[in-house]
Symmetry: none
Subunit: 148 residues, 2 copies
DNA sequence: GGCGTATTCCCCACTTTTCCCCACGGGCCT
DNA sequence: AGGCCCGTGGGGAAAAGTGGGGAATACGCC
C-alpha cells in the first residue's frame, strides 16, 4: 500500500465535519474499516491514522510503557486524551472532535495534507505561519535528514 | 481490544454520580461486567480500571509483593485502602466514593480522560494545574519516551 | 429492642447532542 | 453533451447526559 500524499483545502462546517479527499480514502486498507483515529499532532495540527495503523502503534509502543514512570504516564495522558476514533460517513467525511478543532484553531477551513503514514489537518493560517518559521530550507533539510 | 481514549467534562452531582462517556463504556469487555475498580490515582486524580484488568493486576503485581518489605507493605496499604468496586447504573454512571472525591478535590465538575488501560477523573482545576507544571513539552517528551 | 434518621440504590422523565439519511450543485471524464 | 463521482449543506430520528423522587436498606440513638 502506498503512502498518503497530496494536499487540499476543504471546508469544516459548523458540525465539525470535513471531507477526506477521495484519493486519501482510497489508501485505506479494508482492515481500517473506513475508520481513522484522530489525535493531537506534533506541532499545532490534527493527525489522522488509519485504524489498523493506530492499533499497531498502541500495541507495540504505548502498551509497553510503564505505568509507574512519571514521564511515560504524562505522555500517555496527552496522546490518549486527544485521541478518538472517527468513522467516515456515507459522504466520505469525518467529524472532528471539538477539543481538537480548538487546539488546532481550525475555523471554517482546513488544509489537509498527506504525510505518508498519516494525514494531517491544519488551519491554513497556522500552517502558513509554521512554514515561514522553519529556519532550514528544503534542500539543506534533505541533506541532514537523509544522510544521517 | 483498543485502549481508552478521549476526554470529556461531565457533571458530578451532589450524590457523587458521574456519567462515563459512552465511548469508554463500549471499551469494557464482557468480563468486566459493567464494573470498574476505582482507586486513588498517581497524581491527584481518581483511576478507574475495568474489573478484569484490575483483577489481573492484583494477581500479577500486587500478589507478588513481599509481606516482609516495609515499603511494599506501605504501598499495598495505600492502593487497597482507596480501592472500591463500582458498577455502572442503567444510565451509564458510577458513584464515586466520597473519600476519593475529597482526595481529588472534585466539586461539581469532573474531567474524564481515557489513558489506555484505565480512565482518569480529575477536578478540572487540578488537571490544568498539573498540565502547566509539567516542564517538558509534548514533542520533546515523545522523543524521550519513545526512543528509550 | 424499637424507633427515627440518614444513606443508598433504582427508576423515571427531560433536555441536549449526535448520528444518519437525504438532497443539491459543480466539475471531470467519457 | 451526458453521466458519474465528489464536495457541501441541512433536517429528523435516536442516543447520550442530567436531574430529581421514592422505596428499600443500614445506622445510630433513645
Amino acid at each position: 500500500m502506498a503512502g498518503f500524499k497530496g494536499q487540499a483545502e476543504y471546508s469544516v462546517d459548523s458540525k465539525g465535519r470535513v471531507t477526506i479527499p477521495a484519493k486519501m480514502r482510497d489508501e485505506l486498507s479494508p482492515e481500517a474499516d473506513g475508520t481513522f483515529t484522530v489525535t493531537r499532532g506534533f506541532d499545532q495540527c490534527v493527525y489522522l491514522y488509519p485504524l489498523d495503523t493506530w492499533t499497531e502503534m498502541e500495541e507495540n509502543e504505548i502498551a509497553n510503557l510503564s505505568r509507574y514512570d512519571r514521564e511515560a504516564r504524562h505522555f500517555v495522558r496527552i496522546i490518549m486524551r486527544w485521541a478518538e476514533e472517527v468513522a467516515l460517513d456515507a459522504q466520505g467525511r469525518i467529524k472532528l472532535p471539538s477539543p481538537l478543532i480548538d487546539f488546532a484553531e481550525i475555523d471554517g477551513e482546513g488544509r489537509i495534507i498527506g504525510a505518508f503514514d498519516h494525514v494531517e489537518i491544519w488551519a491554513p493560517k497556522v500552517f502558513d505561519q509554521y512554514m515561514n518559521e522553519q529556519p532550514v530550507e528544503y534542500e539543506t533539510l534533505a541533506e541532514r535528514v537523509m544522510s544521517g
